[in-house]
C-alpha cells in the first residue's frame, strides 16, 4: 500500500466513511481467524511482546515511578512528588555535568564526526586493498570497549615516561604529560579514545551509502573538470546528506549519554572535570552504600531522556527539508 492511499484511508475512517473500513475483519469468526493464521501470528509475536514488556517497557515505567519516590530499594518507598527533580536541579554538580557533557559532545562532533567521513571517502577512492582498509577501520569496534579503554589508559595515556605517547614525545624532549590527570587534557583524551573506538561503525555506514552514489555523477563532474575535492563537495556530500543527518543525530544522542569512558578512565575526575550526566546518574544511584539516591538517579535519567526526545524531534523537523529520507 502506498503512502497516499494509506493517508486517504485514514481520512476516510476519521470521517466515518464505513465503506473505507477494512470490513473483512468483521466477517471473520474466531475459527476463521485461527485458520487464517491470526493465532499463529499472535503466538509468533508473543515471545517478543513478553521480552519487551519485561526488559524494556516495564523498566521504563518503573523508572518513571521511581523518579517520584524516596527509596533505598529495601524499605517500602514513599511518595516524593517533585523532590527528586528539585534536588537534581539544585545540585551544583548538575550544572558541571551538563557543561562537561556538552563539552564532550562538542569535541566529539568536531573530531569524531568528520573523521569517519574522510576515512570512508578515502577508502572508497582507493583502488586496491579496499576490503583490508575497511577491516582495519572496523577493527577497534570489535575490541571489547572495556579492553579498549584499559589499553589506552595503561599503554597510550600512562602518565610516566614509559607511556606510549610520552615515549614518542620524549624523543623530541617533550613531556611526560599526565593526559588523564589534568583537568585541561582529560576530556580531550577521552574524546580521542571514543572516536577511535566508535568511528569504524560510521565508516561502514558511509561506505555502504557511497556504494549507491551514481558513478555517472562523478564522470559528469570529471568531464566538467572537477578535481577530487570539488567532486567530494559537489557530488559525494550532497548525495550522502540523508545518511549524514541521521548519523549526526545519532552521534549527538550517543555522546549525550557518554558513560563508559569517564567511568573507566577517570571516575569523573580530576576535580569533576570529566563528570558527565550519566556518570552523575551512576553516582546518585551507586555512590552511597545505603542507596538513598535511586530516586534522584531516576529523575535525572528521565530528564535526559526527555531532553533527547525533544532534541530528536526538533532536529528531524529542522532538517526535514534537507533530508533525502
Amino acid at each position: 500500500m502506498d503512502a497516499v492511499s494509506a493517508a486517504a484511508r485514514e481520512v476516510a475512517v476519521e470521517h466515518g466513511n464505513l465503506a473505507a473500513r477494512p470490513r473483512w475483519r468483521d466477517r471473520l469468526s474466531p475459527v476463521q481467524w485461527v485458520r487464517s493464521g491470526g493465532l499463529a501470528a499472535l503466538l509468533f509475536a508473543l515471545p517478543m511482546l513478553l521480552i519487551f514488556t519485561a526488559f524494556s517497557w516495564y523498566p521504563i515505567v518503573r523508572l518513571v515511578v521511581l523518579s517520584f519516590e524516596h527509596t533505598n530499594l529495601v524499605d517500602p518507598p514513599t511518595w516524593a512528588g517533585l523532590d527528586n527533580f528539585r534536588e537534581v536541579i539544585h545540585d551544583p554538580l548538575f550544572a558541571t555535568a551538563v557543561k562537561n557533557t556538552a563539552y564532550f559532545a562538542g569535541l566529539a562532533l568536531l573530531f569524531g564526526y568528520p573523521i569517519p567521513l574522510v576515512m570512508a571517502v578515502l577508502i572508497s577512492e582507493s583502488r586496491r586493498f579496499r576490503g583490508l582498509y575497511s577491516a582495519l577501520a572496523y577493527l577497534p569496534v570489535v575490541i571489547p570497549p572495556v579492553v579498549g579503554v584499559l589499553l589506552w589508559k595503561y599503554v597510550f595515556y600512562e602518565p610516566s615516561s614509559v607511556g606510549l605517547f610520552n615515549t614518542i614525545l620524549g624523543w623530541v624532549h617533550l613531556g611526560p604529560y599526565g593526559w588523564l590527570q589534568s583537568p585541561g587534557t582529560a576530556m580531550p583524551a577521552l574524546v580521542v579514545e571514543a572516536t577511535w573506538a566508535n568511528a569504524g561503525t560510521t565508516v561502514i555506514i558511509y561506505l555502504a551509502a557511497l556504494l549507491v552514489v551514481d558513478r555517472d555523477l562523478y564522470d559528469a563532474a570529471s568531464v566538467d573538470g572537477a578535481g577530487l575535492w570539488r567532486k567530494i563537495w559537489h557530488v559525494t556530500l550532497p548525495q550522502l546528506r540523508g545518511v549524514l543527518l541521521v548519523t549526526l543525530m545519532l552521534q549527538i544522542i550517543a555522546t549525550a549519554q557518554v558513560f563508559l569512558e569517564p567511568y573507566l578512565f577517570t571516575s569523573g575526575g580530576p576535580a569533576n572535570s570529566t563528570l558527565t550526566v550519566l556518570l552523575l546518574v551512576y553516582q546518585y544511584a551507586f555512590g552511597n552504600s545505603v542507596g538513598v539516591g535511586f530516586g534522584q538517579a531516576a529523575a535525572l535519567s528521565l530528564m535526559l531522556a526527555a531532553f533527547l526526545a525533544v532534541f530528536a524531534l526538533v532536529f528531524l523537523r529542522a532538517t526535514r527539508s534537507w533530508s533525502t529520507t
Binding site: 533505598n72 530499594l73 529495601v74 524499605d75 551544583p92 602518565p159 610516566s160 615516561s161 611526560p176 599526565g178 588523564l180 590527570q181 589534568s182 583537568p183 577517570t266 571516575s267 569523573g268 575526575g269 580530576p270 576535580a271 569533576n272 544511584a285 551507586f286 555512590g287 552511597n288 552504600s289 545505603v290 542507596g291 538513598v292 539516591g293 535511586f294
Partner: protein, 457 residues
C-alpha cells in the same frame, strides 16, 4: 494376673512404639533442621593457597556443626553495588563491611540486628568500648561483630630507602622528615617518594582525612543528622598545603595521582612507590593478591603533630548478617561468625587451629593489627601464636613499637562516605592544578558534606 500382665505388655509395646515413632520424628526433625548459610569468602583473585585455607576452615566448621551447610561465596565489599545486591537478594548470609559503613547501614536497617545474639557470647564484655561502638546504632542496637581493627599506617619500600641512601630502619617520624625523604627517594631512584590515593571513589577524601587527623583536625562535630561538617578547618588546609608542596614544589609524588585502594597497593608491591598511607593490616592483601616481595616491606606509624588533638585514624572490619536472615539460619550465621572471626581472638585452641591452617597454606601469620578486646587479651592471643609468626616482624618493628604510643581516633561518624566523597575533588584539584584555591574548594566541599549529613546520606 493374666490381665495385668497383658495390660503391662500392651503398655510396654505402646511405649516402645511411641519411642520408635518419637525417635523417628526427632531424627526427621533433625534432618529438617539442617540449614544452609552462604558466607563471604575471599576476594576474587586470591591465591590458591588462600582459597584452600578458607576451605579447610569451612570443612572443619561443618564437621563441628553437622546440621549446618556452609556455601562460600567470593566477596569483596563494594559500597557502590551494596544496596542493589541487597535488594536483589544476592548478598551472602554473612558478609563483612568496613567500620566506615557499618553504622550507616545499621541506621537504615540494611543489616540484621544481632544485639541479643552478641550479648549471649561469653566474651561480649571484653570488647573495647570504642570498637563495639563502631557496630552500634544511635539507638544502642548491635548490628555487627567487629573482628579486625587497624590503625592507618605508613607503608614504605625498604629497598627504595636503601637505594636513596636512607636508613630503612629509621622511617620518618615527622611530616617535615617524610617530605625530605620522599624528595630524596624521588630524586635518587626515579620512583614516587610518596604517593596517595586520589580517585573520585571516596579514597582520596579518606586519606586526606587521615592526614588532617595526624595534624590535629576533625571533619565533623556532633552526631547523626545534627552533626556539623568542619571540613574547612585549619588542619585540613595545612594537610592540603603539605600535599601541594610535595606534588608541585618537591615533585616527589611521581606521575600517577588517581590511585585507588587496589591500584596503590599493586604499584607499591611493584616497587613504584617509596611511601604511602593505608591500613596497618594490608600486608595480607599485598602478599596474597599483589605478589609483594616481603623483603622490601616496611611499616611505621604515620607522623603525628605535637598537639592534643593530633592522632591516627582507625578503621576495621565488621562481620554482619543479611537483614532477612532469621531463626535457625541466624543462629547458624552467628556460629560461623564466632568460629571464623572471633574464637581465635579469645580461645587458645581456636587460635592455634586457625594459625596452623594458615601456616599449612603458606599464609601470613602475625600481621600488625589493633586490639578488638582489651590490650591484655590482645597480648595473650599474640603470645599463643608467637611460634608460628611468619611475617617479617623485624621490618615491622617501627610500627609495632610506635603505634601504641599514638592516640587512635574513629572515623567521622555521620555520613562518612559522603563526607569523603565531598573531599575527593579537593584532593584531585590540588594534585592536578598548581593554582588550586584550597580555601574555596574546602568551603564548597563543606557545603556538600553538610547537605549529605543533614539528609542522612
Amino acid at each position: 494376673m493374666k490381665s495385668i500382665f497383658r495390660a503391662m505388655t500392651l503398655a510396654v509395646v505402646v511405649s516402645a512404639l511411641l519411642l520408635v515413632v518419637g525417635a523417628g520424628s526427632l531424627a526427621t526433625a533433625g534432618q529438617r533442621a539442617k540449614v544452609t548459610i552462604s558466607v563471604a569468602a575471599l576476594r576474587p583473585g586470591s591465591s590458591d593457597e588462600a582459597q584452600k585455607q578458607f576451605n579447610d576452615n569451612v570443612a572443619l566448621f561443618e564437621k563441628q556443626h553437622p546440621n549446618i551447610d556452609v556455601k562460600a561465596v567470593d566477596y569483596a565489599w563494594d559500597g557502590a553495588t551494596f544496596a542493589a545486591q541487597l535488594a536483589a537478594g544476592r548478598l551472602p548470609s554473612v558478609f563483612t563491611v568496613p567500620f566506615t559503613d557499618a553504622r550507616t547501614l545499621g541506621e537504615h536497617r540494611q543489616v540484621a540486628d544481632l544485639t541479643a545474639a552478641v550479648k549471649k557470647w561469653p566474651y561480649y564484655k571484653k570488647f573495647q568500648k570504642t570498637i563495639i561502638a563502631e557496630a552500634t546504632t544511635g539507638k544502642g542496637r548491635i548490628i555487627g561483630v567487629p573482628y579486625a581493627a587497624y590503625a592507618q599506617a605508613l607503608h614504605y619500600n625498604r629497598q627504595l630507602f636503601r637505594q636513596a641512601g636512607l636508613n630503612p630502619n629509621k622511617p620518618p617520624t615527622t611530616w617535615a622528615q617524610l617530605r625530605k625523604d620522599a624528595k630524596q627517594i624521588a630524586r635518587r631512584t626515579g620512583q614516587a617518594g610518596y604517593a596517595q590515593m586520589g580517585l573520585n571513589d571516596n579514597t582520596a577524601g579518606w586519606i586526606l582525612t587521615t592526614v588532617a587527623y595526624t595534624l590535629g583536625g576533625r571533619m565533623e562535630a556532633g552526631r547523626g543528622t545534627a552533626a556539623t561538617a568542619t571540613l574547612n578547618n585549619k588542619y585540613t588546609v595545612q594537610a592540603l598545603q603539605l600535599l601541594k608542596q610535595m606534588r608541585w614544589t618537591d615533585n616527589s609524588m611521581g606521575s600517577t595521582y588517581d590511585y585507588t585502594w587496589p591500584t596503590i597497593n599493586q604499584a607499591f608491591a611493584a616497587g613504584k612507590i617509596g611511601m604511602f598511607i593505608n591500613g596497618s593490616d594490608i600486608y595480607t592483601f599485598l602478599v596474597q593478591a599483589a605478589n609483594l616481595d616481603p623483603k622490601i616491606y616496611g611499616i611505621a606509624p604515620i607522623p603525628v603533630a605535637k598537639n592534643k588533638t593530633a592522632g591516627v585514624l582507625g578503621g576495621g572490619s565488621i562481620a554482619v548478617v543479611r537483614p532477612d536472615t532469621k531463626g535457625a539460619k541466624l543462629d547458624a550465621a552467628m556460629k560461623w561468625i564466632d568460629f571464623f572471626y572471633m574464637e581465635k581472638l579469645v580461645k587458645k585452641t581456636a587460635a592455634l587451629r586457625d594459625t596452623r591452617i594458615l601456616v599449612a597454606n603458606k599464609q601470613p601469620v602475625g600481621v600488625p593489627a589493633f586490639p578488638i578486646f582489651n590490650k591484655k587479651q590482645f597480648d595473650l592471643a599474640n603470645s599463643w601464636i608467637k611460634p608460628y609468626v611468619n611475617v617479617p616482624l623485624s621490618q615491622m618493628n617501627p610500627f609495632l613499637k610506635g603505634i601504641f604510643k599514638q592516640n587512635l581516633y574513629p572515623e567521622p561518624g555521620a555520613s562518612t562516605q559522603s563526607l569523603y566523597h565531598a573531599l575527593d575533588p579537593v584532593v584531585q584539584a590540588v594534585f592536578t592544578d598548581k593554582n588550586a584555591n584550597i580555601s574555596s574548594l574546602l568551603a564548597q566541599a563543606n557545603d556538600v558534606a553538610q547537605k549529605a549529613i543533614r539528609e542522612g546520606k
